[in-house]
Symmetry: C2
Subunit: 524 residues, 2 copies
């Protein structure tokens, strides 16, 4: 544990193992404490442990910087300990004061200094930018190249370790993970978010209380992701249930949702995915999903990104609380239409999985997964990786959290590096282009030929600039510069292989440009 | 020239080269002449050569077998020679008598004996069978595995030779070919169907007469196809024009159409494709296309198959004169819907071309072409091959007529051999199957996994029969029997490769069948 981490966590101590995972500030934090921007300040307070502290005790704090005050909800973490977490979004001298129904917790005040970020990779939370794209809060471009690890937060330590290591190596910068547990092996032995008594069919959930240890483990894992610069697309509800959590009464749903937001929203790498395959949770209606969005908007002081993921019918992404679309679809050709309808970024968060299982969604080749990523990007959208291979030994598969065994991940990392190199803002599909292409007008043009393999092509480049050209083999991960620069209609020899690409990047203005414009493309 | 051919052509002599290509019977055919069923009887008559014999002279003949009379239109073949061609569709003693506006041609009568077919491969014309499929007139199954050779009928001898040889080797049994010429190199030097005077912009067509040599060449080539057991899907109109033929007045269109039908309908391997890319012939309206169909129905005594091929919008294939759909599309997944709407067989006659040219339609890989054939077949439809490679020497490309250079053709022949082996009637898609599959209930089940590559799958076989299983690698053209027989839900290990198939064929009834039915497939 480095000093830097301690500062980020609120100048406090970090417990290990399944003990409270996060730093705890003294009951009144020293006014000299320094928290970096988008770091996590945590105030720990002793309070009542009798009755049901989760339900009976209210606790908030108001954090103030100059003219601005942010109200944050605290939570009970068990053993008589209450916590308030806060992510300061601007440097300066912050003060705070608590309010509570418990006198022991009320009127605690303090202050801390927020400094500019010093942790490498701390660019703040990811936000929407340029209408259809993303960036970090400090303006650094962010292009989501994510994967799927549903059980990462609550799986065995070994699986989580493999998963994190795999994500690091593959340079994934986002992952979709469930907050509520999925059954993994013997579900009677799993750590659970709610107390549960009895076994088998007679087991009973106590939905009026939480199991802090569950959330503490989750937070430790979430922090590991943050350190690896991986955004956590937290799935709040899902249909893969083993204990009745998908069919809780509305009051319990809301109670859980508010608790999760109180605990987790101060982590800068959090995104909210209201549900995975929401339409497969048959016990809930569209009113429930809308209510969860409303609660999330109201309770999250930082407005982390919000979406909801479908299996069949797509949620109405025009609703104001949706920040971006999170689709299970592979019809990338409809992206332009969707962008126009929703005016929001589009993530194809499930486009099926690389793997070899017998379900239709679970046996793409690495080539097809790579192709789908390219198709998503060239259509002005983004894609998310997933992988499910049969393990004869019963080992956890990557998309629950485990070892990465497929071969598309390095190709996706290659694509990420390419995009990060060629554009600060992301791609927009070129309308009516003869072959699939995207870019930035007069600056950048990326063609992806998909199954087409013309031996040569007359590229209709703008005449106003000179462009470099680089051939790209997306699967073999090679880039081959084409000698010379190009302007206007330019014939370039291509390979006879399918699934190739070429990128044109502006190198200079063309002051000697001919008066003849590039011939419009002929559409067949 | 074998004796057999002479019989087929009407017990007459066959001229060579560009001389009249077909056999000519004596003015009155000897009553002892024997013609095999679906062979071509031709009556040649000397007649007036002054004025415009193409327009001025009417000539028909009535052929009678027992109670039935078939009226056939004759045509002027130049040099004072008139011909009447007839394809007898039943064995027996046929008599005939002519009528004509020219006394010289009128009231000629004769007889011939029609014998059962003796020429190997003569199964008669192809007809519709089993609603969505085809068969020869003698009941022999026929599954169209065609290619495209637009200029085959009028290209240089060398190209036609390569084309025919290529089709033979690749076992194509159908080809799409244009009746009207396409410009090939120096269009001033091409043999043309209508007399043309002058050159360049001042050239003038005489649309009131035909150039018999053009049609004689065409018929020689058509006969070569017939000998190779290749159906000729004759394209009567097309937009690839160099001389004004796509913009003739309606009277000239009809005059040409009737002449072509009079000359060509007695060839048993003829299909009528009213047009290629009809919607790109901007000078014609839907009324014109409908009229051409009506004329074809009225003038063709044999009711050869009739279709019309689109570029964009699909013709209304519910119209009664359409025998089957001839589509330019690659959305095979809509085939079931189309079958239900049209109640006719569906041929995807252009699903793009294998090749490397710079047009989107002309640069599929052999893998993708092979895949598209499989997708068409598994969806209960059929597909047509095409190929366009850039030739640095300007050599004609296969789809005009030339050498076969691609690598999909042997894979298509492999698929043809498989289909011919496993079914006498053709494939019907299985509704709601978990993976793409087609077959015949309780007899045959063919799965094609497309891009899916499950390591194993629980196949939901009927419990009423025992099935053999054979793994198929469509691209490497291998078949691998799976040991044992299978009934009911059967787990079979598959390869981890995409684009594989497996076929289950009934080997026996299952009298010991368990009372437990195969578990219904779970749909995701």
């Amino acid at each position: 544990m480095h000093r830097r981490d301690l500062i980020k966590l609120g100048a406090a101590t970090l417990a290990t193992g399944l003990q409270p995972a996060l730093a705890t500030a003294a009951a009144t934090a020293p006014s000299s404490a320094a928290i970096e921007q988008w770091g996590l300040f945590e105030l720990s307070l002793p309070g009542p442990s009798t009755g049901n502290p989760f339900k009976d005790v209210t606790l908030i704090a108001r954090f103030t910087l100059e003219h601005r005050t942010v109200q944050v909800t605290g939570f009970y973490d068990g053993d008589g300990t209450y916590r308030i977490r806060f992510m300061p979004d601007a440097p300066g001298h912050w003060t705070y004061q608590t309010s509570s129904s418990a006198p022991q917790l009320a009127n605690k005040s303090g202050a801390f200094t927020c400094t500019p970020p010093t942790t490498p990779g701390n660019h703040g939370p990811v936000t929407i930018a340029h209408e259809f794209h993303f960036q970090y809060s400090d303006g650094t471009p962010y292009f989501p190249f994510g994967t799927t690890a549903y059980a990462y937060l609550f799986t065995a330590e070994e699986n989580a370790k493999h998963s994190l290591e795999g994500m690091r190596q593959a340079r994934f910068n986002k992952t979709r993970i469930c907050v509520l547990p999925k059954p993994l092996g013997d579900k009677e032995k799993q750590l659970l978010p709610f107390p549960r008594s009895g076994t088998g069919a007679s087991a009973v959930n106590d939905l009026t209380r939480f199991n802090p240890a569950y959330f503490q483990l989750l937070e430790k894992r979430l922090l590991d992701l943050q350190k690896a610069n991986i955004e956590a697309d937290l799935i709040l509800f899902h249909p893969y249930d083993g204990w009745g959590y998908k069919a809780m009464p509305p009051d319990s749903d809301d109670f859980y949702l508010r608790y999760a937001i109180a605990r987790l929203s101060a982590f800068r790498n959090v995104w909210w995915s209201i549900a995975n395959e929401y339409d497969l949770v048959k016990t809930k209606t569209m009113h429930d999903w809308d209510r969860f969005f409303r609660i999330t908007v109201a309770e999250d002081p930082y407005s982390h990104l919000r979406s909801i993921h479908n299996s069949g019918p797509i949620y109405d992404n025009t609703k104001s609380w949706v920040t971006h679309a999170s689709l299970q679809r592979a019809d990338f050709e409809n992206s332009a239409e969707r962008r126009t309808a929703w005016r929001k970024p589009i993530l194809y968060d499930e486009l099926q999985y690389e793997g070899d299982v017998d379900r239709r969604w679970g046996n793409l080749s690495a080539e097809e997964m790579t192709r789908r990523f390219w198709l998503a990007l060239i259509n002005g959208a983004y894609a998310t990786h997933g992988e499910v291979f049969i393990s004869e030994t019963g080992e956890s598969s990557w998309s629950d959290a485990g070892r990465l065994r497929g071969e598309s991940a390095p190709r996706i990392a290659f694509l990420r590096a390419l995009i990060e190199k060629i554009t600060p803002v992301g791609l927009t599909k070129v309308d009516n282009a003869y072959y699939l292409s995207a870019g930035t007008p007069n600056q950048l043009l990326l063609y992806y030929f998909d199954y087409h393999r013309p031996a040569r092509y007359d590229f209709p480049l703008p005449t106003t600039a000179n462009f470099s050209a680089t051939l790209i083999d997306p699967y073999n991960m090679t880039t081959t510069p084409v000698p010379g620069t190009f302007s206007g209609k330019s014939r370039i020899a291509l390979t006879s292989k399918p699934y190739q690409a070429i990128v044109f990047q502006k190198v200079s203005d063309n002051h000697n440009k001919s008066t003849e414009a590039a011939r419009p493309e002929v559409l067949d």
